[in-house]
């Protein structure tokens, strides 16, 4: 007779994804965009890791095998190719969304847990990741800059107030590198007649630390940031960075063992905040932005930003139903897809077209998952392919909603394709 099913706790313990590792059937929808959207060979694949490397091990189905053999003790964490397989991957979540349609397996969690296990065993992260992590630990930001300069971006025409319902969490890149995004965000909020506050001692959100598998360090940052945010009394925490948004909304609860609804505040992306303002007429676009644009869905704002719901239980011994039932499964369909599009469509002169791969089929820019730091050439070639896709549909510019996507696109742009963050486009259209 059958033994007892093992208890599963969705989170970051690789052992809990034995089922995923064993029951991937190898049909590999994880490599492609949803088939109904495929328009030919070009731009048909969805997995940049597999596309770039080719071997099965770099796609999610192959990684299921790898995890299975690791869990069975038949593959050593010290395997010299393993770290490359695990980390040469932006963890964009396309494989997870694809599998959720087919087998409903938790691939994204399995891959995050695999990184966590690599770190635990001493084989992760990559040397380049250690350097950035060191910066975060020493200075509170990814770039090793002085925290005293974190608020240098604050514009005089849209300054924060001491107390408001909205807290703007600018994040490392907008605070230190792409300060135009932070300025634009502040001006958008102000233009709608709202007030916002900032945290003087804002720390790195920890996305980089989390996504490279450094769970304990990520937990520490999560706790510190949550405490700081809660102390402000903010009702809404607004992000212009997709990575920060997803980290606070999804990964903090995941790391600390609760659900998104128990955060005590509402994390929102600036596009979620501004789209209703545009609709209500509170935010008016008076300047024309005459350009044919495509919108690039950042993975962390689209597929990966759905709420986290804590679940523990078993798969029953008969046919594998979840006990207790899972009433919400993150499949990438409830991400922030329409607000940025609604905003862009409302700007005079904008001609918005879709790339072949969009919404939950959006192709990653290649920057996330620590790829930009450890494998910069892979990140740039992935972004170059995305820019070629934009050109394929006749776009003059790519608009995104994450500073890290924007930066990677700029690094890859050679043929005159312009790149904007959506806040920059909005601010220009407002006249700021």
């Amino acid at each position: 007779m059958a033994g007892e099913p093992r208890k599963i706790s969705l989170g970051l313990n690789l052992d809990d994804y034995y089922f995923e590792a064993r029951h991937c059937d190898g049909q590999t929808p994880c490599r492609w965009i949803e088939y109904n959207y495929i328009q030919g060979v070009d731009f048909s694949w969805g997995c940049p890791a597999w596309r770039n490397q080719g071997f099965d091990a770099y796609g999610a189905a192959g990684k299921c095998n790898v995890v299975y053999y690791l869990l069975m003790g038949k593959l050593d964490y010290a395997d010299e190719g393993l770290r490359d397989i695990v980390y040469r991957d932006p963890l964009c979540g396309r494989c997870d969304a694809a599998c959720k349609r087919c087998l409903d397996l938790e691939i994204e969690l399995m891959l995050e847990s695999l990184r966590a296990r690599m770190v635990e065993k001493g084989y992760g992260p990559m040397p380049a990741h250690v350097e950035v992590t060191g910066n975060i630990e020493k200075t509170g930001n990814r770039y090793g800059r002085s925290q005293a300069k974190r608020l240098d971006w604050v514009p005089s025409d849209a300054s924060p107030v001491a107390r408001a319902d909205i807290l703007y969490f600018a994040g490392c890149r907008a605070s230190f590198v792409d300060t135009g995004i932070a300025k634009a965000t502040a001006r958008i909020i102000a233009a709608a007649g709202e007030k916002y506050m900032v945290m003087k001692d804002e720390q790195c959100c920890g996305h980089f630390v989390f996504i490279t598998g450094q769970v304990e360090k990520a937990k520490k940052l999560a706790k510190a940031n949550l405490d700081a945010i809660r102390k402000t009394g903010a009702k809404k925490v607004v992000f212009s960075c997709a990575e920060g948004y997803k980290t606070v909304k999804v990964d903090y609860p995941k790391l600390l063992g609760f659900s998104t609804e128990d955060l005590g505040f509402e994390p929102v992306h600036i596009t979620e905040l501004a789209a209703p303002w545009v609709k209500e007429g509170r935010l008016k676009f008076s300047k024309s932005f005459d350009m044919r644009l495509v919108y690039h869905d950042p993975c962390n704002l689209g597929r990966k930003s759905e709420k986290w719901v804590k679940w523990e239980g078993i798969r029953d011994n008969k046919f594998g139903a979840f006990v207790p039932p899972r009433e919400f499964v993150r499949r990438g369909v409830h991400g922030v897809y329409e607000p940025p599009r609604d905003i862009l469509k409302a700007i005079p002169g904008v001609q918005l077209v879709e790339m072949v791969r969009h919404h939950d089929n959006g192709y990653c820019c290649g920057a996330d998952g620590g790829v930009k730091e450890a494998f910069p050439d892979v990140a740039v070639s992935t972004a170059a392919e995305r820019l070629a896709e934009a050109a394929h549909v006749g776009a003059e510019a790519v608009v995104t909603a994450c500073p890290y996507c924007r930066g990677n696109f700029i690094d890859a742009s050679k043929d005159g394709m312009k790149v904007f963050d959506i806040t920059e486009v909005m601010a220009r259209a407002i006249g700021k």
Binding site: A2, R22, I38, L103, F319, G332
Partner: protein, 570 residues
């Protein structure tokens, strides 16, 4: 990326020579990379779960036919066995692979050239069906997507049995669409078959000067690389209607919106004889691009969507469905296409309505979208319920044969499930899935039994040895017995059912398979073991699975067919 165990099984010099052909970035012998290939492909729940899959010694990814030729010749020189791998193509990957086998992964060869004027496409092994459909639908042409899904290799399935429910004036068998074929033999010679024998531009026909030897490579039994590697084919396309299939929706709701000239009709009939009568009348009236008899549990698969876990939603629905409800509603799903015009569709629709009315059918609501026919054929949806693919047999035969076979299967499954209700998804006395194909001339049926994955997996805590044994006994004995009792020709011979066993009771065609193989692969290096892997699996790992009743029937049937077609050796 080479690990310390690279040269455990093949000489270093051989590896270096093979690596030099494709370049170091397209070669690997790393253990983690190799393990990713283990157990990929069809029926993995049987081979992989039973520990009968091995990892290759190394993997090489060629880009051109020249590289393939050099890889194969080098393998022959060093006496290293090789197996071609592509995208998931219903082919086995690694059961009983020898430790010294290398994989030639064909995915980098993904070129496709469409000749829309003459309605064919030249393509390489890496091109998958969804890519082909996406490209040709823009040109008002159509192909099919087999049950394996939109992600399977077109080329590979052209040499197997890539069948789709869509079949209006398109033969269901993808192999019949082959024109010119470029074939690298197991010894590394390049044969250009069909009209291609006359020159590189002549891709258009299956026949060329001399005999048509493409047949060496085709057949319902899969060669799975054991006759070498096909590097390019020319594949026939068919005209379609001109209106666009517009993609829409996200996640499980992703689909294409159907234009007015492509419409679905879902009909419930009061009993099975009426369904069968209605299907025959449709065939007689020459209507229907797909005529698909949908088993009741598929409805709950289709309904299992939304925010909840699919498996919970499925079982909540299916557990509530009673046998009586299943018996009262035998469902047929018909796709009509106005190929020539909207008037054609309207005519076919009027005929369909007459047939429904005359047979007391009820027209149910159909969303005019497609998720599974043109791009996806998302057969994996069924796997959500139990996490494995539960196939016993697949048949393409005359309507009379299929009906007999389906009746017997249903009867036996019902009896089995009264004794062991929790071994397989309970089918509640439903009939197997079947289709009317090519205007009723052929029927297609799949005899399915869905076990719960972990219960048949010896490594899982939920493993149930009794259930696992009964699963194997059920699929091999029921499949073989039904083939013998009804004459049903299985397209899963060599994949699900053992070729050697079934060949004994037909015309011993396995002898011919062996002869061809020996002729073209004297060194026995191309995909060693194929196409007799199921036989090997049963003989070596489960010799007691085929029961006495089956053995007795085999003897009786074989005796009655002695000398049939003159193939039997003395």
């Amino acid at each position: 990326m080479n690990g310390p165990n690279v040269f455990d099984h093949i000489p270093e010099q051989a590896y270096r020579e093979l690596e030099a052909i494709v370049g170091p970035e397209h070669a690997t012998a790393n253990k983690a990379a190799r393990l990713a290939y283990v157990g990929r492909g069809f029926d993995r729940q049987v081979y992989w779960f039973h520990g009968d899959c091995r990892m290759p010694a190394a993997i090489f990814m060629p880009k051109t036919v020249d590289e393939v030729v050099r890889l194969v010749k080098t393998c022959n020189r060093w006496k290293i066995p090789f197996i071609p791998q592509s995208t998931y193509g219903m082919a086995f990957s690694s059961p009983y692979a020898r430790d010294d086998v290398v994989y030639i992964d064909m995915k980098r060869m993904d070129k496709m050239i469409v000749d829309d004027m003459n309605m064919y496409v030249i393509l390489e092994p890496g091109v998958v069906y969804a890519q082909l459909q996406g490209e040709i639908l823009k040109r008002d042409l159509c192909s099919l997507v087999p049950g394996g899904g939109g992600q399977v290799s077109v080329l590979v399935n052209a040499f197997l049995c890539g069948m789709s429910i869509y079949n209006y004036r398109i033969t269901i068998l993808s192999g019949r669409r082959l024109n010119g074929v470029e074939w690298v033999t197991p010894e590394g010679d390049v044969y250009r078959l069909g009209s291609l024998a006359s020159g590189d531009d002549n891709w258009f026909w299956q026949d060329g000067p001399g005999p048509n030897v493409t047949g060496f490579l085709k057949g319902l039994s899969s060669w799975a690389g054991s006759m070498g590697i096909v590097t390019r084919i020319s594949y026939k396309l068919y005209p379609f209607q001109t209106e666009k299939l517009e993609p829409t929706g996200m996640g499980a709701d992703a689909c294409v919106k159907l234009p007015p000239r492509v419409q679905f009709y879902t009909v419930s009939f009061p009993d099975e004889p009426t369904v069968r009568k209605a299907i025959r009348e449709m065939a007689r009236a020459r209507i229907g691009a797909c005529v698909n008899r949908v088993p009741a549990y598929w409805r709950d698969v289709a309904r299992a969507r939304g925010d909840r876990a699919y498996v919970n939603t499925f079982w909540d629905g299916w557990n509530k469905t009673t046998e009586e409800e299943v018996a009262r509603s035998r469902m047929l799903r018909v796709l009509l296409v106005g190929y020539a015009s909207l008037k054609q569709l309207q005519y076919e629709e009027r005929v369909l309505m007459d047939i429904i009315e005359e047979n007391k059918g009820t027209l149910l609501r159909s969303r005019q979208v497609d998720e599974t026919v043109f791009f996806a054929a998302n057969s994996q949806g069924m796997w959500k319920a139990t996490q494995v693919f539960g196939e016993c047999n697949g048949i393409m035969e005359s309507p009379r044969c299929i009906e007999k076979c389906d009746d017997l299967y249903r009867e036996r499954m019902y009896k089995y499930q009264q004794e062991y209700p929790d071994d397989f998804l309970h089918q509640k006395n439903e009939y197997p899935w079947y289709l009317s194909v090519e205007f009723g001339r052929i029927y297609y049926s799949e005899l399915q039994a869905w076990p719960y994955g972990p219960k048949i997996d010896p490594t899982a805590p939920e493993y149930d040895a009794g259930n696992a044994k009964r699963y194997l006994e059920w699929r091999y004995n029921t499949g073989l017995q039904l083939s013998m009792e009804t004459g049903a020709l299985s397209f899963f011979d060599g994949q699900v059912q053992p070729v050697g066993e079934i060949a004994k009771v037909t015309h011993d065609y396995s002898i011919w398979l062996e002869r061809f193989k020996k002729e073209f692969d004297p060194n026995g290096l191309a995909a060693p073991g194929h196409p007799f892997l199921v036989d090997k699996f049963l003989n070596e790992s489960h010799p007691d699975v085929i029961n006495e009743k089956t053995r007795k029937m085999q003897k009786e049937v074989a005796a009655a067919r002695k000398g049939w077609l003159g193939n039997r050796q003395a």
